[in-house]
Subunit: 544 residues, 2 copies
């Protein structure tokens, strides 16, 4: 057998293409030629049939057979977003029919959509290519059908305001149906794209306008259609972007990604809000966070780890900001001298996400803003850096604003938002950190402050007055850990593998967990966390 390395074109590159590579290219050229000839023949045939007055709606147009990968002609298909640069070209592409509007019996306007891009297309009766039946058939295409379209790209005299590509339109020569609609759409994409507001919208005459507002509940029940709006295409592109920015920053700081099990042997952290799973002949529990595993990864010397994964909370809270399953962006790292190393790294991480979103997703932010109007999310740049308050500072600000001090053992949701407004007014920022929470408000694994044992080395991060990150230095000493567990009513024996990890030596460490959907919701002011989750889960929703 020949040495496989000898056939490796990468290894051969400096010496130019190999014989077999040349042969391959020749073959590809021949194939291309054949395809072009075939296409020309088809067009010729089409012209002949046109002359013979054949019914195009059933012959050359209309529904294609069910796509089972019957053929592979390798005809290039383009993206709508590229059309502006293709004036004068004949193009082929697959798209949704957002709307189809007949103009008399000889012309149809189509609004064709791909993801967040759309273009106007015209189907006009023409003696040689387009019959009256064809126009009729096209006019009757259901909204949200998927079609394969061939046509000529032409500059438009005036910008097409109803489409995202405004300077060209497509003069259609063929339309085929790839996938139709079976039943009635729950709502039109146009309706679903209108601002989601409770205000009654009236026209100039004072009459309520004739568009229906699509309720969130209706959207979520029909999420697959709802997700097709430009807004939602942009929202989930940005969700993906936050993950990328999170990983990029941490990777540059020496972190590796870990994957910890969601199935756990014991109901840990806080037994009350844990989902129970039937596990063969026994039970398991769903992890409320990767907390234990990521700390164990530190005890196992991985030094800096992050995880992106689902987090399960069996809390019966039907609020705008709680889900029973959400995406946790978690990290844990060793501390050299002080837990502020962790807090500062987390701050750098958040800033890098905010900057990345503003730079890379400028268009998406604009699009989403049309449906969800919001003041641009603000943070502090420059030498002063992110605003850092202590818990005590925060309480004082609230007391100064009139909240009775005796109600402020903890800061509830309402006061959190109030604090957000106070901070915004005083410091002009939507993003800040509160440090040094009282020990009694934090979980058992939180490291106490070295000077005041009622305080802890812990922090929360906020966006627009809502918590998006919670973190702390953790207890790495097994004796102190066991003591704090008992104080909170947790039996150290019930979490033996976790406590044992620290018995085998563990460096000082800290970390934090970010709620992905919260960051997305609050950056864009989507007002409900369900809008930031593709298929949200809450106590009442397990479908779709």
């Amino acid at each position: 057998m020949a040495d496989p390395e000898a056939q490796n074109p990468v290894a051969e590159e400096p010496a130019g293409p190999s014989k077999s590579e040349l042969k391959k290219r020749q073959k590809a050229l021949e194939k291309e030629k054949q395809v072009a000839e075939k296409a020309a023949k088809q067009q010729e045939l089409a012209a002949q049939r046109a002359a013979a007055d054949v019914d195009y709606a059933t012959e050359f147009y209309g529904p294609l057979p069910l796509h089972q990968s019957q053929t592979r002609p390798r005809l290039p298909r383009i993206e709508i977003s590229s059309l502006s640069a293709r004036d004068g070209e004949t193009v082929l592409f697959r798209a949704r029919v957002q709307t189809s509007r007949a103009q008399g019996s000889k012309m149809v306007f189509l609004n064709l959509r791909q993801r967040a891009d759309s273009v106007q297309a015209l189907v006009v009766v023409s003696p040689e290519t387009i019959s009256k039946q064809m126009v009729k058939w096209t006019a009757a295409l259901a909204d949200e059908s998927i079609v394969l379209v061939q046509g000529l790209v032409k500059k438009t005299p005036e910008p097409i305001k109803s489409a995202s590509v405004q300077d060209v339109e497509v003069h259609v020569s063929q339309v085929h149906l790839i996938s139709g609609i079976d039943g009635r759409l729950p709502f039109s994409l146009d309706d679903a794209s209108r601002p989601d507001t409770d205000e009654v919208v009236t026209d100039a005459d004072g009459k309520a306008q004739q568009f229906s507002r699509v309720l969130l509940e209706t959207r979520l029940n029909n999420r697959v259609v709802d997700l097709r709006t430009q807004t939602n295409q942009a929202v989930f592109k940005m969700q993906s972007g936050i993950g990328d920015l999170f990983r990029q920053f941490l990777s540059s700081q020496g972190f590796i990604e870990i994957h910890s099990p969601k199935l756990q042997g014991a109901a840990t952290e806080s037994g009350a809000s844990v989902f129970k799973v039937s596990y063969f002949k026994g039970n398991a529990f769903l992890a409320q966070s990767p907390q234990l595993a990521k700390q164990m990864a530190i005890a196992a010397d991985f030094e800096r780890v992050y995880e992106i994964g689902p987090v399960f909370r069996a809390e019966d809270s039907n609020t705008h900001r709680h889900l029973t399953e959400f995406l946790g962006l978690d990290l844990e790292m060793t501390i050299e001298e002080h837990y502020h190393e962790v807090m500062e790294l987390l701050d750098g991480l958040l800033l890098s996400i905010f900057r990345g979103l503003r730079e890379k997703y400028h268009n998406e932010i604009g699009l989403i803003g049309k449906q969800f109007p919001a003041d641009e999310f603000k943070w502090r740049e420059g030498p002063e850096g992110t605003l850092k308050l202590t818990f005590r500072n925060a309480i004082d600000m609230l007391v100064e604003d009139g909240v009775p001090r005796e109600t402020l053992d903890d800061i509830n949701t309402e006061n959190e938002k109030r604090l957000g407004r106070l901070v915004k007014a005083k410091y002009d920022t939507d993003y800040y950190i509160i440090d040094k929470f009282p020990m009694e408000l934090r979980p058992f694994y939180t490291m106490p402050d070295p000077e005041d044992p009622t305080l802890s080395n812990s922090y929360d991060f906020f966006m627009r007055g809502e918590e998006i990150l919670s973190g702390a230095q953790r207890i790495h000493d097994p004796a102190l850990l066991a003591e704090k567990m008992r104080a909170k009513g947790v039996d150290p024996e019930s979490m033996k593998p976790y406590v044992d990890a620290f018995r085998m030596g563990c460096a000082p460490h800290g970390g934090g967990g970010i709620g992905l959907e919260r960051v997305l919701m609050l950056f864009l002011k989507l007002n409900n966390i369900r809008r930031a989750s593709m298929f949200p889960r809450d106590p009442k929703r397990l479908d779709p």
Copy 2:
């Protein structure tokens, strides 16, 4: 309040540093100076105390107070991997004591470790800095203790073979204990690092050697210690790398990342192997794959999506390659003409992962190979490309090798491995694709072949004779989908939100799911999938 933009150093950059920036830098310089002065003072104090014959073991050495972030002197700490370039420097770093070996009463050799790096350090009695007590204390340090070490880096006359940094060693001036060991180590790191073999190893005299092999079960029961070996540090660095390579390739191909819920309302796909969850007053089920959600994302026009997330299988299989929870690398994309577009993209993805691993993790592969010797993983590069067999071809190869055709309705695990050996012998590759599986072997959502309805547009990918990826074109037509569901005994009404997604129009599409741990196990020949999972879960293991 001043315009915050005016204080933004990014906006100001072209005009050089602002006044506030300069002030900040001055401050930083001053702080640095103060820190340096403080450090010098401390050293001076140390010298004075030395002159006064103070007991260092309790005063300047020995255990530090519990690290609660008491101070932040900002003394730079270095990584062991950087030591070769620091000959002559006094350095400070945190490390594990892998071993501590006294040489008489005046000298101790330490092997100090960080992740996969290690260095030799010496503690030698010296009248001015190191007392006899100190040497004694250091010699008694338990293996796996964590210490803070200060010392002078010096070139060694001969390479230190027991350390990864071989050209320098550290002459210690201070050792502090950061975290000790509470109890007995389950095994030594040296033992855990030996080849995991069943062979009896004998020395030159024919006696069995005196090292103990650490059983996999023991390792997994004490995973936090086991994960500290160089081998495991490298394995999980590579696991993280596979995720990176997966995302990088797909991102370059226009994919976005999605997150689908693991909690589902119905026991879908195949009811037999689904975990049931108590969900408030009802039940939920853990997703066996993101299959349904990612197809719905296609029906929602996201065009190309991927997901990295846990996958749950309630199968009572205690084999070397099954876990009840594993990491799925899943993708789904629209098809323009033929499902081979998907198969070819998946092939490109796998090749890009293999190439990335070989290029970026050369050292790690070498390290792991010492404990798990393996032939280098081989794939075909060059114009011939990846080997693609049809299911029929594969059966023929097995029959030709002597397997009775009548036993080959499906290819079982044993025959899969046999086929792997046949392919390796004939084609010299550890990686290949089998296409066109019989319809009856695939799930209900698989698209049938357009010509032979007993076949399907589906494929599996293999590494070293084991399946690592399964995928197919999916049925996007709701009527055909319902028909195939009924044929497999699934009531379409039981999965209404899924079937409804296709009623609202869906493009032809296909995809696949890769098992992350399998790719890692087979690339490195780790022989058991538990070694490729940080905290593995199987029917008998939920801890740690």
